[in-house]
């Protein structure tokens, strides 16, 4: 059930967003993808979920090639994501947002829905029950009838996670889940990610909050200007000179030399 990213290159016109990036996410781990702004992290997410195709290379998930599939097919394969800039369905209630996530795991069509077949009613009940369970998990149980738009920022982020979890993913891609959160919300998020990990879901995480990344990730890959400059455990990454250089710039002596 591992995710393999093989030699991915992405060019937008003359801009090299990603150059020959390769890494592997093992089943059950929390894998961090970090790097300065514009390093190509979100581009990598968009390529994994086929929002656009790579210029070169391929993505393989549990021995199935994801590259070339449509985004909805990738969700069906068990890879689901959240967005850096929150993209909930604003005019739907919290509960409805989560039920949309269950779309690819359910199958009632027009006919079954209109004639209210027994199978459809049973399925609707299951969808709602599961959605409520997920809302409990992310701590939004009492907000199910609120419009998604009216939730606080941190709550919206957690609702996005619940919506993604509704599609029964084996791999969850989180794009900066802690962005804009205060310390308490970040701590809650830490607990939530731990809970999701315990459910047996592999997590690939983009995040700028370094304390959180170092605490929660089993392994980390670092991107800078579209290239992978380092990979390893949080301790290895903390002490890697390339990473320090990318984040803080070169030391003065080097510049003078």
């Amino acid at each position: 059930m591992a995710l393999e990213v093989k030699n991915i290159t992405k060019r937008f016109g003359g801009i090299h967003a990603l150059t020959d990036v390769t890494f592997r996410v093992e089943e059950g781990e929390v894998f961090g993808l970090i790097g300065p702004n514009g390093a190509g992290k979100t581009t990598m997410f968009n390529i994994i979920t086929s929002m656009f195709p790579p210029t070169d290379g391929e993505v393989v998930f549990s021995n199935k090639r994801l590259t070339g599939k449509k985004p909805y097919e990738i969700t069906k394969e068990g890879v689901c994501r959240t967005f850096q800039n929150i993209r909930l369905f604003p005019d739907m209630t919290v509960l409805e947002n989560v039920t949309v996530g269950e779309h690819c795991r359910t199958k009632s069509g027009v006919f079954a829905s209109v004639f209210r077949l027994k199978s459809q009613k049973v399925e609707e009940e299951k969808i709602k029950t599961k959605a409520r369970e997920l809302l409990q998990l992310v701590g939004l149980g009492k907000y199910e009838d609120t419009f998604a738009d009216n939730l606080a920022y941190g709550q919206q982020r957690r609702l996005e996670i619940a919506r993604a979890l509704a599609s029964d993913p084996a791999l969850l891609l989180l794009d900066e889940p802690a962005a804009g959160m205060n310390e308490k919300e970040t701590n809650d998020l830490f607990d939530l990610i731990q809970k999701i990990k315990k459910l047996g879901i592999t997590i690939l995480l983009i995040e700028h909050d370094m304390p959180l990344v170092m605490r929660i990730c089993d392994r980390i890959a670092v991107l800078n200007f579209g290239e992978k400059i380092a990979q390893g455990t949080p301790d290895e990454i903390k002490n890697d000179p390339h990473v320090i250089e990318a984040y803080l710039g070169q030391e003065e002596e080097d510049e003078l030399a």
């Binding site: 979920t49 929002m51 449509k70 985004p71 909805y72 969700t75 069906k76 689901c80 994501r81 967005f83 993209r87 909930l88 369905f89 604003p90 005019d91 739907m92 409805e96 039920t99 949309v100 996530g101 779309h103 690819c104 795991r105 359910t106 199958k107 009632s108 069509g109 027009v110 829905s113 209109v114 209210r116 459809q120 399925e123 609707e124 969808i127 419009f147 919506r163 993604a164 599609s167």
Partner: protein
């Protein structure tokens, strides 16, 4: 008694309101996936012409003609819906507007089949056909004490009412299901919807074809209610009229276009003096709506408020009952 109440003229107005409600529903379905179509007059004309020609020239039964008309409009809807999938907003509106004009010009010039700009007359009339059928079973208008033309109008109205209620039920149920949620998700954020596992191609074409089919259905009914159709019935102003039902009433919930169609069809009849200025008023309404209430009169929030008020009322009543019961108990 009955003879005094039934006024064929009012019944006809009500019948047109019902047909316009069906048209309003048709534009609502395509809009519910965020697709703005100005081609519904075109789909309507396909339904109308198909059914008229089949029943008049080929002696098809009326019901079969109407169904085939709706189906053909639906099929054309699929054919138009697939290539225009990538178009959004204004671009889709222009493409579908072009389609509507192509269909109209086709009907004008295909004289051997459609009699061109003159139009097709003496199309079998719904009510008259039914009354003839009823007469064969031995039922006539004077048996319930009304004139023949009253019975005709009454039957047309009742049938249209049943059809409209069934159609609305169909789409209300569809909305409250997995399919409806997929439609709404696509409307609100297409990319997010696809990332959540929704096959947007399928649902967008489905919505477009459903809208086209319902418009074709309304067109076929229109042909058999007026008994006369010509290409000018389905020109640009008709497309805009259908769109205004949704713009005025609101396109977020199905009740919006239903209200819009009802109000805007009834208004010129109620205010005879201003009916000449109808299109001017439409224009003013459009400008005013865009400025002050772009989502239309009836929106999500309104429905939500009505629903929660009902819930609250119910709760208050339940609490009262509970208290009363306790009162009796102690």
């Amino acid at each position: 008694m009955l003879a005094e109440i039934i006024n064929p003229y009012y019944l006809q107005v009500l019948s047109f309101i019902l047909i316009n409600i069906i048209l309003g529903v048709s534009i609502y379905i395509t809009l519910s996936t965020g697709q703005l179509s100005l081609g519904h007059a075109g789909f309507m004309s396909i339904g109308a012409y198909t059914s008229a020609i089949l029943t008049l020239n080929y002696d098809f039964p009326l019901v079969v003609g109407v169904i085939l008309g709706a189906l053909l409009a639906g099929i054309v809807g699929i054919l138009i819906g697939i290539p225009t999938l990538r178009l959004q907003g204004v671009y889709l509106a222009i493409a579908t507007l072009g389609f509507g004009e192509v269909v109209r010009v086709l009907f004008i010039n295909w004289e051997s089949l459609t009699q061109g700009a003159i139009g097709i007359s003496s199309i079998p009339h719904f009510g008259r056909e039914l009354v003839t059928g009823l007469r064969d079973t031995g039922f006539t208008a004077d048996m319930i004490g009304i004139r023949n033309n009253q019975l005709i109008s009454l039957l047309v109205f009742i049938i249209l009412l049943v059809i409209t209620v069934l159609l609305i039920t169909f789409f209300v149920r569809q909305n409250h299901s997995r399919v409806g949620r997929a439609f709404a998700a696509i409307k609100m954020d297409e990319n997010a919807a696809e990332a959540m596992g929704i096959n947007i191609t399928y649902y967008k074409v489905l919505a477009f074809a459903q809208g086209a089919m319902v418009a074709g259905f309304a067109g076929a009914l229109y042909a058999h209610v007026t008994a006369y159709i010509s290409p000018s019935d389905f020109a640009y102003h008709r497309a805009v009229e259908i769109l205004i039902f949704a713009v005025f009433g609101g396109s977020e919930v199905i009740w919006g276009p239903i209200f819009g169609a009802t109000f805007l069809t009834a208004m010129p009849e109620l205010l005879r003096e201003v009916s000449e200025y109808r299109y001017m008023i439409y224009g003013i309404i459009l400008v005013a709506m865009m400025a002050f209430r772009p989502q239309g009169l009836i929106d999500h929030e309104m429905i939500y408020k009505i629903k929660s008020r009902k819930k609250k009322k119910k709760k208050v009543e339940d609490d009262k009952k509970e208290r009363n019961r306790h009162g009796v108990g102690s």
